[in-house]
């Protein structure tokens, strides 16, 4: 073995050690932060549990009786809302429609309108 080869051997061994040490100290902190995408974060808000007046699509309103399709269409068309009670201020509601809305106020929630939803705001295209 020549002197040159042995020199290279030590250099490469040193590099391996350096990368290993850097990897050991540098690696764990990057993994420590829980990765979460924006949609999961949105689903963790009331949007994921209740009928979100600013973000739930028309089809979602079929979960509770009396809302789909007429009121669902009106609610989506008149969004956004500042608070849940604003839904009663939709113009030209009939008395019966107001009653249905009042009975469902507990099922409603309001979060920030989410641009990311795009057309899913109207129809998410999930059919049977």
């Amino acid at each position: 073995m020549s002197k040159m080869q042995s020199w290279w051997r030590w250099i490469s061994l040193g590099c391996c050690l350096l990368v290993g040490i850097l990897g050991f100290w540098g690696g764990p902190p990057a993994l420590a932060a829980e990765p979460i995408n924006k949609m999961d974060a949105k689903l963790a808000s009331p949007f994921g549990q209740k009928l979100d007046l600013n973000n739930t699509n028309v089809n979602g309103f079929s979960r509770y009786p009396g809302l789909y399709p007429t009121l669902a269409r009106l609610i989506v068309a008149n969004a956004p809302y500042g608070k849940v009670e604003d839904v009663l201020a939709i113009p030209n509601l009939t008395e019966r429609q107001k009653e249905v809305l009042k009975a469902n106020l507990d099922n409603f929630a309001v979060t920030e309108p989410e641009v990311m939803l795009g057309w899913d705001r109207i129809n998410n295209g999930i059919y049977r």
Partner: protein, 163 residues
């Protein structure tokens, strides 16, 4: 001797097996399956086997074009599955409510009459295939709609992924 007999004996055995096995394997609707909700007061009614058969034939002939397999082709959000029927306004998960619908259809929230859009006895002038339906026929069709989920489970109204 045994070699000569084994053929005829096998044939006889297979013939006897088909004779015994066929009636037992035929699908029969028992009374419990044919018992469905009559109205929202909790009353139930048991369809006869003949009514159930007639309901199936009529449903496929009159409703099956759009409601094949219990779905709604023109709006897959609302099907004929028990959950969708129960969440309608008024609830449509009973024989009487379904018969009422076939006479005077309304939107899912019950706010609008849609006799011009959904075939019914109200507008046989624009939906002539509804003309020959009698009260007994409507009863049989409603019964069929409520019996199917008991036999087919999620396949009824579950959509094409469950076919």
């Amino acid at each position: 001797m045994i070699g000569k007999l084994i053929g005829p004996v096998l044939c006889l055995g297979i013939w006897l097996w088909t004779l015994l096995a066929t009636p037992a394997q035929a699908i029969t609707l028992d009374d419990a399956t044919r018992t469905v909700a009559l109205n929202d007061q909790g009353e139930t009614v048991t369809l006869t086997l003949r009514e159930a058969e007639r309901g199936k034939q009529l449903f496929n002939a009159k409703c099956g074009t759009c409601h094949v397999g219990g779905i709604t082709k023109t709006n897959p959000v609302v099907g004929l599955d028990p959950e969708s029927l129960a969440l309608a306004t008024p609830p449509r998960n009973t024989v009487e409510a379904l018969v009422d619908y076939m006479k005077n259809p309304t939107t899912y929230d019950g706010l609008q009459e849609i006799a011009e859009l959904h075939p019914s006895l109200a507008r046989t002038d624009i939906y002539p295939k509804m003309r020959d339906l009698t009260e007994d026929d409507l009863y049989a069709i409603a019964g069929h709609i409520l019996i199917q989920p008991k036999i087919r489970g999620i396949q009824w109204g579950g959509g094409k992924i469950y076919y």
